[in-house]
Amino acid sequence: MSGCACSEHAVPPALERVEVVANDRVASGVGLVVLHAPRTAETVRSGQFVHVRLAHGTSFILRRPFSVHRVRGERIEILYQVLGTGTRTLAEREAGDEMDLIGPLGHGWEIPPGIAHALLVAGGLGVAPLGMLAEELAARGVAVTVATGAPNKERLLVRDLFEGVARRVEIATDDGSCGTRGFVTGVCENLLADEALDVVYTCGPESMQRIVAAQAAGAGVPCQVSLERLMACGIGACLSCVVRTSQGLKRACVDGPVFDAAVVLWDLTEIPAKQ
């Protein structure tokens, strides 16, 4: 594969035919689909994604990118928010249905050697690529603290997700219906002041990630961000997914989606609008 700066050798992507094992609603407007995908399950690394073909025929044609949330044996889990045509189609899929995906794709999270304590900051669906990471960190003996936010209790994602892997979980809701009232960035600020942290990992709306990156930089803690772009090919060929960095334009699908926050030139016009 080209352009991949992965420290460990990443396995090349492949086209894999997968079967839906289960597909359930887990929060308001959010589903969790479990796919039997042995090759991807075996080769994926935390922070990588799969490019899923949801349509056949020609009404809409492009694949949709989704992070691999967690791996369970030969199965992978995808946590998805229902937004438009593609994710509505995904929500209608039932156990036994088949589809195909390309994966594993992209450059995932880096776990620096020797770290003792990591902070994971998720805004909304940003928890999606952090599930696998939390488990991997815990398995390596790294203490995990999680800050997660949502508009309200109903939209808060899988609260027990990090149970057993996180040492501490702090929750923020915009309306105060669960945890602290306010944004997750407020919680993040306090944690950065309270705890001795070696690394911050974040995913969520780009405006939130930018604030977290600035907070981490202020506290002198290295930070990795996971950026979303509209993607056509997902494999590095079309240049639809570029991210501005101090090292020039990078492709989110192969050089990212995870980037060192220090190189990202934040450009908020690039976030696709979401509901």
Binding site: A14, L15, I61, A237
Partner: protein
């Protein structure tokens, strides 16, 4: 002949002096230089790799968002982002030197001189088999499509490029014109050895929640199945107007589409947007074309070219 005789179909086609193993090519800008697809397909089974657009200096391309999905297709305004011809030679051509497949380099420029300078740099590269001159990109402010929408500038670029090389010269035509056959005749009269069409159709889309255009550049090029009937009509018109090979493209996703383009008069076909949907499309179409001919006892795939009955 008896159906029991299993004959092999001759899949080769001639693009002027260039003989291609198969009529299936990749559409510029949808396949990079092939490296990203090597995980999914055997590049050596392609008729040729048509590279992304290459300019003299590096181009930054357009701001994001650069794509928007539309019914049965997509809009793009990538804006010909590329690292410039020097980096292209060092990186892409060097990589391609280990792959046994003809290479057609897609050339872009803002000025006639720029097109010529790119060709001059590439002339010393043995790995280049032919040029495709892009006079039809809707995503750059000056040059690009401006050259392809009137006869005089199209003739000028073609003549200048012709003078710079004796390699096969293909000119890529814009569909954003009133009479595409007229432009085709003009570039052939100016020395083009072949024409390829269609490039994307200029279009746009607006997000009604934000009142903003879906593309940062507001307008972009439409590709994919949505444009196929328009592309097919234009290939048929151009094939009837010129006597050089025509490379047909626009929404080809399967064997049936490819056969239609050849029946309309295309000597070879290119797969573009479909590469994003299924990275193995070019292999499927190649196998499908061979099978199509075999089951109908058509000895040569080239017999399909222009074979539409009226």
């Amino acid at each position: 002949m008896s159906g029991r005789v299993s004959h092999t179909v001759d899949m080769s086609v001639k693009l002027g002096e260039l003989t291609l193993r198969t009529p299936v090519l990749t559409a510029s800008g949808t396949f990079a230089s092939g490296r990203e697809f090597a995980d999914f397909i055997d590049l050596e089974r392609l008729g040729a790799v048509v590279t992304k657009g290459v300019s003299l200096e590096p181009w930054e391309g357009s701001p994001s968002p650069r794509i928007a999905e539309t019914p049965s297709g997509m809009l793009n305004s990538i804006g010909l982002q590329n690292p410039g011809v020097e980096a292209f030679c060092e990186d892409d051509l060097a990589w391609l030197s280990s792959v046994d497949v003809p290479v057609i380099v897609n050339v872009s420029g803002h000025t006639v001189l720029e097109y010529v300078s790119v060709i001059e740099r590439l002339e010393v590269e043995p790995r280049v088999d032919a040029y495709e001159i892009n006079i039809s990109c809707p995503n750059v402010d000056s040059g690009g499509m401006a050259f392809g929408t009137a006869c005089t500038p199209a003739e000028e670029v073609t003549r200048a490029c012709r003078a710079a090389t004796s390699r096969p010269l293909i000119v890529k035509l814009s569909p954003n014109v009133t009479d595409i056959a007229e432009i085709a005749r003009a570039v052939v009269a100016s020395g083009a050895d072949g024409v390829s069409l269609i490039n994307t159709l200029l279009g746009m889309a607006i997000d009604i929640r934000t009142f903003r255009p879906k593309l940062a550049r507001i307008v972009g090029g439409l590709s994919g199945p949505a444009i196929k009937p328009v592309a097919l009509r234009m290939v048929w018109q151009v094939a009837g107007a010129v006597d050089v090979p025509v490379i047909g493209m626009g929404g080809i996703t399967d064997t049936e589409d490819a056969v239609e383009f050849m029946l309309a008069g295309a000597t070879a076909i290119s797969v573009g947007t479909a590469n994003f949907v299924d990275p193995t499309t070019v292999m499927r179409v190649t196998d499908g074309l061979a099978e199509f001919c075999r089951t109908r006892s058509i000895a040569r795939v080239s017999n399909l070219t222009g074979a539409m009955r009226t």
